[in-house]
């Protein structure tokens, strides 16, 4: 068990392509840090640099307070769970888990004790004599976890471990991983492109984009106060509505002329080009006939059961940039072409600078 600290870590491929452009993250002992971002954002490269599978161009990686830049993966005392499990196909489950321990020259009965313990924790006790191909996807995933657990390493590294499972199993394994990580209290770094996984698993969430950490914070803090347009659009499903607008004295005027009066929120200088971010769940339907902040012309409806998603655009205009989604209660019946009066909670409106994309 140990802390993991990244200081200004950079990765340049072939002297030209900059995959990671200086990322600093400090993960406290026993915490779960999730790196999330679209493909090609550098999150896997960053993980592989922590693992020692990829050379670090500059910056330092510290595990347990020691700089490990020059150590090989086996000397860093980390364990990794791979996307495709990477189990040794010709070895039994038992040997798959024991292999790393044997290579370290551990005593036989100690290996046996640890493997059986891990197998019991993961519900694999009956499968120790099987080969990986005789197991289901979920079981293979558990073996991959077991291989990490038996080592009792300083840190777990997960590289999109659930992306090969079906949706139901993924949900189940997500909880299992979370519980296991809490029980064992091992510092973990988890890479995923799935924002639900990211939100549910993380103690610290790192949203990455184009080789940079856009925001590092707790999941809720990121959800509530996204630092940039990118983070706002990436975290939350359906994605946050982003509307181009111009600030005025009393509020914001959308590109199509709709004025959204926002009281309470601090207003930027008038005339400034901004993006208004409003989460679909913060658009509420007005049912008592009060004056609406916004009229939504519905063009498509998704009925999810618990929720109804109403897609459309402000009634005044039809520009593509002003498309909106509102998350309404499942009990509301909406049809295409309806005009919905919506109110906006001013404290829930995020304002971003249109040019830089940063939060104002």
């Amino acid at each position: 068990m140990a802390t993991v600290d990244l200081k200004d870590v950079r990765k340049v491929y072939g002297g030209r392509v900059e995959a990671v452009k200086g990322v600093s993250i400090s993960i406290p002992d026993g915490a779960m840090c999730v790196l999330v971002g679209p493909s090609g954002c550098g999150k896997s490269t960053l993980l592989r640099m922590i693992a020692g599978l990829e050379e670090i161009t500059s910056g330092t990686v510290e595990i347990g307070g020691e700089v490990v830049n020059d150590r090989g993966p086996a000397e860093r005392d980390i364990a990794m769970v791979f996307q495709n499990y990477a189990l040794y196909p010709h070895m039994k489950v038992y040997d798959n888990m024991a292999y790393g321990l044997r290579n370290r020259g551990m005593a036989k009965d100690e290996i046996d004790k640890r493997v059986r313990e891990a197998a019991a924790t993961l519900g694999l006790a009956d499968f120790l004599e099987r080969r990986p191909r005789e197991l289901s996807g979920g079981q293979r995933q558990r073996v991959a976890m077991g291989r990490a657990i038996v080592r009792s390493p300083k840190a777990f590294l997960f590289d999109e471990p659930l992306s090969n499972l079906d949706a139901k199993l993924r949900g189940q394994m997500r909880i299992e991983i979370k519980n296991l990580q809490k029980t064992l209290g091992v510092t973990s770094v988890y890479v995923t492109h799935d924002q639900v996984e990211a939100m549910t698993l993380a103690d610290t969430l790192v949203v990455m984009n184009q080789g940079l950490a856009e925001q590092i914070d707790t999941p809720m803090a990121i959800y509530e106060r996204p630092a940039s347009v990118f983070v706002a659009g990436f975290i939350g499903s359906p994605a946050m509505n982003l509307l181009a607008a111009k600030s005025s004295q009393s509020g914001h005027i959308l590109a199509d002329g709709t004025e959204i009066a926002i009281s309470g929120a601090t207003l930027p200088d008038s005339g400034r080009e901004v993006l208004l971010g409003i989460r679909p769940e913060h658009l509420t339907l007005i049912e008592n006939g009060a004056a609406p902040d916004l009229q939504l012309k519905v063009t498509a409806v998704e009925t999810l059961g618990a929720d109804t998603l109403a897609h459309g655009h402000p009634a005044n205009g039809e520009s593509r940039s002003s498309e909106l989604v509102a998350r309404l209660p499942g009990s509301v019946r909406v049809r295409d072409g309806d005009l919905l009066p919506l109110s906006i909670d001013p404290s829930m409106v995020h304002i971003f600078d249109a040019a830089s994309g940063r939060r104002i």
Binding site: P73, G100, N103, R104
Partner: protein, 282 residues
């Protein structure tokens, strides 16, 4: 496809049986001839059923020594050929699996250069480079030795390429998992690569063993002493231009004995690698 009607099934079977007969009859006839005395063979027609000289012919050939090839017996020839075929098969597999390992899993300067150099040797079969190779063997004093018989045939671009292609299909994650598990290159090779290549090795072994067993031109050049001959060379030497001079019954025995080991290897190894193929997952 075979139809459902009785007549079409009969026809199909008849064709297949004729096919088997055409392939198998010469071999059967060789065996029949190997069980008759020389007199019977030389006085046509040759009987279609085995004769009573089985033990006599085979023991003479195996242990008695055959005059036309300097009194060497067939068991020596079998031994020589087995050594040569095994050395070639094992040597080729050993060298090519190691070179493929180096080319696929290590990043060293000139990696692609070496790959192409190996690749180019595909265009230089033994026959093309036979004179210079012979000269080298003479200079090294390797004429009439097992080393001389096998060494020049050992390097194999084909096998290297085959292993390379196989190694390229091994997922990078597996290699990385082994690195995280603390397996160095040799341990990775021994614990993971070798067991995964079992099937390929078995298949290659069969092919290369037969390749080594049936070598003709090179053993003919590089051996002068009769007791260093391989069975194929000896077989040719046993046949004289004058029919009466040839001990046909012993030639036939040698023929039968020459084809037995390759058949044995195929039959035994086939079970092995079919099992491997069935077990393999992808």
């Amino acid at each position: 496809m075979i139809g459902l009607s009785r007549s079409s099934r009969y026809t199909a079977h008849a064709i297949l049986i004729i096919g088997i007969f055409i392939v198998a009859f010469p071999i059967y006839y060789t065996f029949v001839a190997s069980t008759h005395s020389l007199q019977t063979i030389l006085r046509p027609p040759l009987p279609l059923l085995p004769g009573d000289q089985f033990w006599e012919n085979y023991s003479t050939a195996l242990f008695g020594g055959i005059g036309r090839i300097g009194g060497v017996d067939v068991s020596t020839l079998l031994f020589n050929t087995t050594v040569v075929a095994l050395a070639i098969a094992i040597g080729k597999i050993f060298i090519s699996i190691l070179s493929a390992f180096a080319i696929v899993f290590f990043r060293f300067p000139g990696r692609m250069f070496f790959f192409w150099v190996i690749f180019i040797t595909l265009m230089l079969p033994v026959e093309v480079r036979i004179l210079p190779t012979y000269k080298v063997m003479v200079d090294l004093g390797l004429i009439d030795t097992y080393t001389g018989l096998t060494l020049p045939l050992m390097a194999s671009a084909t096998a290297t390429l085959l292993f390379r292609q196989f190694f390229l299909t091994i997922p990078g994650e597996l290699v990385e998992a082994a690195r995280v598990d603390g397996a160095g290159p040799w341990r990775f090779f021994k614990d993971i690569l070798l067991p995964l290549s079992k099937t390929n090795i078995a298949a290659l072994f069969v092919i290369l063993f037969i390749y080594g067993w049936t070598q003709y031109l090179w053993p003919l050049l590089v051996t002068n002493r009769n007791d260093m001959n391989t069975i194929v060379i000896a077989l040719r030497k046993m046949v004289s231009f004058a029919d009466a001079d040839t001990q046909w019954h012993l030639v036939m025995v040698t023929c039968v004995l020459a084809i037995l080991p390759p058949i044995l290897v195929v039959v035994l190894m086939q079970r092995w690698f079919v099992k491997g193929l069935v077990e393999t997952e992808k």
